[in-house]
Structure formats: C-alpha cells, structure tokens
Symmetry: C2
C-alpha cells in the first residue's frame, strides 16, 4: 500500500487524539484522505458519488467552529449507497433508482453529521445490497473482488481513503467485504441501531454495519450512533476466558489456507491461556444457512415491491431470489424464523459459560475476478439469529492477502464482544 | 350516521363481490365515497391531503382495464401520513416536514397499487405518530377525540369515506382510534409487514396497522400485503374454546361503562360455550406498561435524529419523550426489552391451552375535546411484547358511543386470531 501521506492511515480515534494534541489539524488529515482517493480511486472504484476536495473544504470552513468543537472534528465518513442522504443521491446500485435523491438523511447519517462527521461520499453497493457487483476492486489485489454488498465501504476504509464507513448486512454484506479487504467490520445485535432511511431488504435480518481499520473506531462510532454521552470512552480490551470454535466445515466449504490460519490463531490464543472448545455438535449451522436463505427470500419478495414492478431492470440473481420468496410457503418461512430464534438461545449449550464464538469470516481470501462477490455462507447462520459479529483482520495467506476471522457474541452483548475483538486484534498485531 | 348513498358503507369484500356480481360498478362506489367525503370532511377532518374526485376518476380511467381485472378493482384506500407516497406529500404531522415529498412509495403502498387499490389520500396523523393531535374529530361524536395517532385512518373508515386504510402503531396508535371511532383495527405480529417507507419511531415496537369496518377486510388486506396468492380466501370464522381475560384494572384505569360492557360480553361468550378464565396473576401487565414506555423513549431519541436538531419545532410531549430517552441508561432499556420478550412467552401460564386473550381496547369511550387523544396504556403491554392484536367494534355505552375490545394472540398466530375476531364480530352483531 503506497502511502502518499501517513495521516490518512491514522485510525479515527488516533486522528482525533492527534488533533487534540495539536500534532496535526483536521484539514491536514482531510487533505491526506483526498490525496489517497485521487491516487487510488481510478483503480479501486470505492465511490458511487463523492464531494470534491473543494466542496468538502467549503463545507468544513463554512462551519469550522462547530467542527473544531465536535466529537468527530469534521473528519470524513463514507456512507453505503443504500443509506439515504439528503444532499447526495442514493441509488442502491440499481438502474431503477438512477439519480434518486432522498428528501431526508437516514437517522444514522444525521447523528454522524450532528457529531461533526462529514459525509465525504456514498460508497458502492451491489444491486440492492444483494449479489450483482458494482465497480469496486479489492484494494489489496485489484484483480480480486472486494466482497459485497458493502464493497465500497470496505475498500475505502481498507485503502485508507477514509477512517470509517457505514455499511449494512442482511446476509454477509459487512463481514465478507471486511474480511476480503482487511478491515474491521461490526454488525450489531439485530435492532440495535435506527434503520430509518436505511433501505430495507429483509426486516428480520437487516442490520446497520460499521467499518474501520481499528476495533476502537467501530466502538466509538457505535457509541455515537447510540447517543452515548461519553462516546470516546467506548471499548475496553478484554481477554476471553473460554471461546467456542465454529469450524468452517460445520457451515460450508472453507479452503486450506483459512483452516491453517485459524488453527494457528487458536494455538496462539491457547498460549495466552484462553480455553478453546468446539461448538456443540447439536447446533446445525449448515441448516441455519438454509433457514437464513428462506427468511431472506420471503421478506425480500415483499420489501422490493417497487422494484418487482420493473422486472426487466433487475439482475438475474435478484429476480430469482424474489421468485423463490414468492414460491416459499408462509409456514416454511415462519418455521425458519422460529428455528433461528430458538437456536440463538440453544447455541451455547453445552458450554453456557463460554464468552464468545470464533469462526472464519469467509471461506478463504477474496476470489479472483469482479463478476461475483464471493460466498456468503459463513455469515448466514449468525445473521439469521440476529447476533452481534465483528470481523477482525490480521491473518493473511502466503501471498499476504487478508483472511478474516469473526467473533460472534450473545444478543445484546455488543460492548463485551468489542472488548474481545480489541484483544484479538492486538494478539494478531493488526492494530499498530 | 347519515347515508348519502349506501354504496360507501359496503365493506371492501362486500364491495368487490357486488362489483363481481354486476350489482354496482367501482366508479359508483367511488362516487359514493366522494359524496360522503364532501358531506362530512369539513367536520371530521380525516384527510391531510387527498385526490379530488376528478383526479381520482382520471387515474381510474387512464388504466381502467387494469383496475377492472385487479383484486381491488380501483377502490379507494386511505394511507396514514407517516407512510411515504411518491405522488403525495408525507408530512408526519409535523411542521418540520411541511410539503415533504418522498421519492418512493412505501412497499405497502406499492403493493396496494399493484393490487389495484387507489390511494385516495393521506390521513391525518398526530405529530410523528405520538401525542400531539391533528385536526380530526371523532365521527361518532364530533366533540370528542378520534384517538391517535392513526386518527384520520380510523375516522375515514368509521365514517364510511373509504372501506380500508393503513395506519401504524408503536404504542396504541391503531387500536385506540379504532376503539374510539368504532372500526376494526389490526396490528400484526412484530415484523410481519415490510416497513420500508413507513417512517419509524421505535424499531422494537413499530407495526403497520390495517383498518376496516369488517374483520374479513383487514384479513384481505393482510393477505395482499403478504403477497398471498389467494388473498380473497383469507379469514375463516372460528369460535375460540378458551379465552384469557385481561381485566382493564390489571393494566390501568378503566371506567365503569367499559367494565360493564366487558362483563356483558363475557357472559354472552360463555353462553356460546366459550370458557373464560382470568389471565394468570403472575403476569404484571402494569409493569409492562412502564417497560413499553422505556423502550419507546430510548428508541425514539435515536430514530428522531433529524428532528432533534429542530427542538423549537417539536411539541412539548415529544421533546419530553426524547429527553427521557436520552436520560435512560442503556442497561435499563435492555432490561425492559428482555422482560418484554420473556413475558411474551410466559404470558399464557398457567393456561397454555388458551386460544386468545380478551381485554378492553381503551379505558372507555373517546374522551371529550380535541386537545388530547386519550390514554394509550391498554395497548402498551401487548405492543411491547410484539403480539398480534385486533380491535373488534360492536359494544357501546348508553349514549351509543363505541367501546372497543381487543383480542390478543400469540406471536405469528395472526390468521387464527383474525378467525376469532370474525367470530366475535358476529357475536356482537357488528358485521351486517
């Protein structure tokens, strides 16, 4: 990764501290981010729409006193183009919504602006946050997919164009691109954040997602979005005592690079005194993948009502998903919902005292090519259960490409989960 | 109720059958609805925005062949002004959003249009579906409140201006106005319907609501919104075997008229062979009211992010709600969520074989005056638990004002619940 100016590589919290300590100014960091974008955007293609450097600085200068006193100091944030912005189009990766200009900011966008964050631009999403890719390439190897659907949000953060971004996840749309690009990706317990203005796909699965280069930065953004009174104090690093291991083959295919890297990580965790036990054999993660697919197809077929009326403008995978959803009986859908809900409770048996689950975040490194965004099955089970998840970067294959691992927590244990993620990040040496 | 033309008083399903049987035409029914609106709207004030008769007919005639073949035949629907419409403003009862024109239809609106329903207009909502009333009066007694927040949707249906309408409920916003105006109001199990384009207040509580004059009509609309392949076959009438009675005083204040009417109804049910037992004393419905308030205030404070930035344009009750939400600890909020969730399961103890819960839908008849919309506590417990609920009209006080009772079902038992509601409606003689 060529660094034109190291200021763009600072994490959000690091940047805020550097500004606080007068080591640099917000405009200097902003300039470094724009230098990076100008150098890399033609190849990476993370942005669907973005402010020019001049527009950004004009915005900053028009209200400089406010930004200087604000928690986020006027630093840039990337917003997935499935999230409404009142000052920029929100096209959802679909020709149906070309030039679509929402009237309101999503609540998450409004809260970021109120905290002094500036929306630098809208990041590329796949078509309606489903399969059909946008223009983004993987910044770690341009010949590979960045993963989807929050492709641009992951690429922009991993490539140090912005310190943080918002994404969304219905299947694997935050965790997978974070894993492939080498970013921290966090998906909250279902229902954690306001989804007002975040275009829905499937109401039982949709979650807002946060991406950054450091765990402490997603913790900070989480606290801001929850209107926590002391957002900068979020996230304590904590070593878990007992970790449940969900091996990739329990869920679906994983490759040998991932298996070896995960085995190596488990060994390092054990050396640190962490007890690692395998997730109970009674938990059928493979079946949870199928239940997730059922829930998603049923709900997408009802949520995408406007778009169903324009079938000629939908991609084949999306038309197929809607078709599947219309053919699925309501009974089968409700059964899948009920099983997912029950499994979220029984998951921890027979190891009720376990702190967290560890699993591969993707089958391996990002696949080559840009026609597909990789397989989503490693995320489907947890997403069906509405659990909080963090992708922690740091593992790599022999070529130096990122291999993501995810930590999964109990519902509403998000703060604790981020503490474990911070510990794991340090163990893997991924936070400088 | 003065009837200018009886066609406007037909239920939706009755109207569709009359058209099918060539007893009347859709334009004749539409004309009768407009006659009614012209006669009554100056006093009732159900509409925030509506098509003129000419605009409506132009829309109908421009695509007559489609409407004639469609399930809803071009009949009119009222849409609460908290639900986005691409061709009409959506102002949410707030000066902050005066003239606000959404770019997209909500999914529920799109599905209704695709089924051949025509949006006649937007019905009056209280400010952001909370307390501050709009201009609507109770059509059964103009000196009284119609209830809120779906005030216009209840009044328009109860006054036979339209056969069906959409509302939304976060606390009591469908059940209470339906009870006060004498309409059927249905709130689905949490998560049943797509809320895309329905402006959210509190994600753990918000539900779409359906209003009509007959239970079979809300069942039909439910089936349409779920893209059921045979929507006209929805709703079977079923007598419940065992009913759990939740007396009003278990929840909060109820008046003597309601208590007497409910006692009379219970007696009639028992005469029909229904076993009526009291809800287990272990269930603290009064505490559920408080948990609902906590959940609502916490989430509203995050959802209304745009509006929080305009505090001078918010009503006092709403400002207070947001303030309460900001002062509530996340721990207290999560505890309320967890208790509501657990109670939804334990509610049926020790009567696991009971079919349904019967409770007053409001403390009594609609209060006099237009400054407030009445007390919401009779709905808060069920809404906190995400249960499906139907207000069944038919009971009246000595002056002939409506006294609503509600049936409450288990999560995802909506179809069965509507069957019981149909039976109760017949018992009370409220469906002609």
């Amino acid at each position: 990764m060529t660094q034109l100016n190291p200021l763009n590589t600072l994490g959000l919290k690091q940047a805020l501290q550097a500004i606080e300590n007068h080591e640099c100014t917000a405009p200097e960091i902003i300039a470094a981010c724009y230098d990076r974008i100008e150098a890399r955007e033609p190849e990476v293609g993370a942005w669907q729409y973005n402010l020019t450097r001049e527009q950004y600085l004009q915005l900053y200068c028009s209200n400089q006193a406010f930004y200087e006193q604000s928690p986020l100091k006027g630093l840039p944030v990337g917003i997935k183009d499935i999230i409404d912005t009142a000052d920029m189009p929100t096209e959802m990766g679909s020709p149906i919504h070309e030039g679509r200009q929402p009237v309101d900011d999503a609540s998450c966008v409004a809260l970021i602006r109120q905290a002094g964050g500036i929306v630098l631009g809208k990041t590329v999403t796949t078509e309606f946050a489903y399969f059909k890719p946008g223009k983004t390439a993987n910044p770690r190897d341009l010949s590979r997919t960045p993963g989807g659907s929050s492709s641009g949000s992951a690429a922009a953060v991993a490539d140090a164009m912005v310190p943080v971004s918002l994404g969304s996840q219905t299947a694997a749309s935050v965790i997978r691109p974070a894993a492939y690009c080498g970013a921290v990706g966090y998906v909250g317990t279902r229902g954690t954040f306001s989804l007002r203005g975040v275009q829905p796909l499937a109401q039982s699965l949709d979650s807002l997602g946060l991406m950054a280069r450091r765990v402490e930065d997603v913790a900070l953004m989480r606290a801001l979005l929850l209107r926590d009174s002391n957002p900068l104090e979020a996230a304590q690093m904590t070593r878990p005592k007992r970790v449940l291991l969900a091996l990739g083959e329990r869920i679906g295919e994983t490759d040998s690079a991932m298996q070896e890297a995960l085995a190596g990580l488990v060994q390092r965790m054990q050396e640190q005194g962490v007890e690692v036990v395998e997730l109970g054999q009674g938990v059928r993660l493979d079946e949870m993948v199928a239940h997730h697919q059922s829930i998603m197809s049923y709900e997408v077929a009802r949520n995408l009502a406007i778009e169903s009326a324009n079938p000629e403008l939908l991609s084949e995978p999306l038309s197929e998903l809607i078709e599947n959803g219309l053919n699925l009986s309501r009974e089968a859908y409700l059964r899948s919902l009920a099983i997912a809900d029950a499994t979220a409770e029984s998951l921890w048996q027979p190891h009720q005292d376990a702190d967290v689950i560890l699993a591969p975040a993707a089958p391996g490194v990002a696949p080559e090519g840009h026609g597909k965004t990789g397989a989503p099955h490693m995320s489907r089970p947890w997403q069906a259960m509405g659990l909080p998840v963090v992708n922690v970067p740091g593992l790599e294959d022999e070529q130096g490409l990122p291999l993501g691992v995810q930590l999964i927590g109990r519902r509403q244990s998000d703060d604790t989960l981020l503490g474990y993620a911070g510990w794991l990040e340090k163990l893997m040496g991924s936070a400088a």
